[in-house]
Amino acid sequence: MTQTQQIDISFLDKCLQLFMELGVKSVSMQDVAAATGTSKTSLYDSFSTKQELVDAVINYDFEFVTQNLDRIQKNSSNAIDELLQMSEFIIKRFGQCNPCLLFDLKKYYATSWEKFMQLKQAFMNQHILTNLQRGQAENLYRKDFDEEIISRIYFSKMEAFFDDQVFPQSRFHFVMVHKEYIIYHLRGIASKKGHEILDISLSLKNRIA
């Protein structure tokens, strides 16, 4: 979509920050104009509806996340390191997110939300699968399970993390659930050697722990 490509990345980033802080419903186009230092007229030149803006921001976020996760995959020293870095990144990005944002998207922008979840899940599923294969090749993960089964199970949880009925925001914070899940996943698949590396990574760097 040429229009999106022409739109200033920093503009989309500012919008994303705004939505992550305040949600979507309560933010008007006026608010967006003020926060990004654009005039309402030029805003409506680029986006005829708020829906279009929301979609553009979602696409921007998706691009940003995928580029970073690809980078992490390339730069990590092993499969476990990759997953831990990935988790830190995701926690940092979504941990600051106002729960209203997800609630608003699901309720008022259901099609955008659907699209977002599908993109994300397809991407994550692929990443988890390649991570499993990498870890098995590095002898850091066991080989007594099928990678496709485990990666499907992993990615099916993703929606649950955002499902208020499974993990109500009043009781479970996204960050806490995500941290717990990554450890559960890594311990669930690690070989003896993998467990040793995990013990070191978690305690030395005092990472997710």
């Binding site: 066991r142 007594d144 399970f145 099928d146 496709e148 089964i149 485990i150 499907r152 199970i153 099916s156 949880k157 649950a160 499974v166 993990f167 009781r171 479970f172 806490m176 659930v177 717990e180 899940y181 450890i183 559960y184 996943h185 311990r187 669930g188 698949i189 690690a190 467990h195 722990a209």
Partner: protein, 214 residues
């Protein structure tokens, strides 16, 4: 001497378990929505008039069936979890419990119950969210005390993850894994789960079982 027939507080006859079991079979075979009260009375070999002496409508009948199943399953599971020597053996015994003893866990029936028969559905939901949740969480705590499960586990999170996964495994939409058998999927998940929660001591116990083929 004729047996005294018991009635409930509204004057309805108390339906014997054997009749409820027969109904359950029929519903699960044909489907919750498509079975009529006519079908049921024919299947039971009683008149429709008699059937309506037991229940006022189909929803009520389904609720009685679900309640009966829940009582049986809860009795069985309580025995399994309290009767085992360790939390790990309790969990491993539980994982071999035939979940089709529920008799209603086929996804279409669950979907229909949820949508059209909320009273019956609520009984099943409570069973899952209250009874099963409590017993699984208690098992985790026990295992932690026994040094078999990791001390740092956040039991509410792990319990919710576990339940959500198990329920999801019966919903074939979530796992369109045609190339794998349900037994294989379940086994891989259970081993993954156990490795995920066990201490070194616990892992030693499960390693052999997990290396076996499903």
């Amino acid at each position: 001497m004729k047996k005294t027939i018991e009635r409930d507080e509204r004057g309805y006859l108390i339906m014997p378990d054997e009749l409820l079991e027969k109904c359950a079979e029929h519903f699960m075979k044909i489907g919750v929505r498509s079975v009529s009260m006519d079908d049921i009375s024919r299947h039971l070999g009683i008149s429709k008039k008699t059937l309506y002496q037991y229940v006022s409508n189909k929803g009520e009948l389904l609720a009685k069936i679900i309640r009966l199943k829940v009582v049986h399953v809860e009795r069985d599971l309580s025995a399994i979890f309290s009767g085992s020597s360790t939390a790990l053996t309790a969990f491993m015994d539980y994982s071999t419990y035939p979940l089709d003893s529920y008799g209603w866990i086929n996804p279409k029936a669950v979907y229909d119950l949820k949508k059209y028969y909320p009273t019956a559905w609520k009984i099943y939901q409570d069973h899952l969210e209250v009874f099963t949740y409590t017993i699984i969480e208690a098992n985790l705590s026990r295992g932690i005390k026994e040094g078999l499960f990791r001390k740092s586990l956040c039991t509410p999170v792990i319990t919710s993850i576990y339940l959500r996964t198990i329920v999801g495994l019966f919903n074939s939409n979530e796992y369109p894994l045609e190339k794998f058998t349900p037994a294989q999927v379940m086994k891989d998940y259970l081993c993954y789960h156990l490795h995920g929660i066990c201490t070194e001591k616990g892992v030693k116990i499960i390693t052999a079982a997990c290396k076996e083929k499903a």
